[in-house]
């Protein structure tokens, strides 16, 4: 949650047209290029990456990173509305997301058997670790 950024934009164009526009990547930044196909290359400024998923004209997922920075995952979903298209962008840090899920289980799990199981499991490595 804390390691996810979401933004959206609603435009009057149909999804197909927005999709085409994604392939003209000046919007992505200076000196940008993006191949709208699986394993296609992504390039924007000092960032490089690759396309994970390209489901025209609905969903584009790619990974990118700048030198010496962790890779992040970008999901772009195009939702066709009655009039126009909603463009939803989600950029996330996968490491943080995995950790966040884990945290949610630990802290949010008041019911179920999560509590006792978690504390029992935690006590085991402690014995070795405290030496």
């Amino acid at each position: 949650m804390e390691h996810t950024v979401e933004r959206e934009l609603t435009v009057p164009e149909e999804a197909q047209e927005v999709w085409r526009s994604l392939a003209e990547p000046e919007w992505l930044g200076e000196d940008a290029a993006i191949e709208l196909r699986e394993a296609g290359e992504v390039h924007a400024g000092e960032r490089d990456g690759f396309v994970e998923e390209a489901d025209a004209p609905r969903r584009l997922v790619f990974w990118w990173s700048a030198p010496a920075e962790e890779a992040t995952r970008v999901e772009i979903d195009l939702d066709e509305l009655d009039e126009g298209t909603r463009v939803r962008v989600t950029e996330s840090r996968p490491l943080a997301i995995l950790d966040g899920r884990d945290l949610a289980i630990e802290f949010g799990g008041a019911g179920g058997g999560a509590g006792p199981v978690a504390s029992g499991a935690a006590a085991v490595p402690l014995v070795g670790a405290s030496r």
Binding site: V5, V11, E17, L103, E106, S119, L126, S130
Partner: protein
């Protein structure tokens, strides 16, 4: 730029919080505001020594700070390092604001051309 190595800082934070006992400890400390290792050990199924060691790991990641009060050492949570995540969100969020505005302008050029 406040942090020279934001990724390292995040790694230290997530590393420290990757252990369920340390997370429980950190959450407990958050509830208490300030506590000694002995206080914390009473509430957790681990020894005081183990609590101390975990507090050391949390302190290493900058997640807790200590204060001496007489013969006691009091620990308190410092949410500071977590702000690295907030910084990231703010930066990445504003980048997407710019990119989506640019995408809108790009599409708008077609709008004015269409009949």
């Amino acid at each position: 730029m406040p942090a020279a190595h934001p990724v390292d800082a995040a790694d230290a934070v997530f590393g420290a919080l990757s252990d369920s006992t340390r997370r429980a400890l950190y959450a407990l400390l958050g509830q208490r505001g300030e506590a000694t290792a002995t206080d914390l050990a009473r509430e957790l199924p681990v020894s005081r020594q183990a609590v101390q060691k975990h507090l050391g790991t949390l302190a290493g990641a900058g997640l807790v700070a200590t204060r001496r009060s007489g013969r006691e050492v009091l620990y308190r949570p410092t949410p500071g390092p977590m702000s690295e995540a907030l910084e990231w969100m703010a930066e990445v969020g504003s980048q997407w604001d710019d990119r989506l505005a640019a995408l809108d302008r790009q599409l708008a050029r077609g709008r004015s051309l269409s009949p």
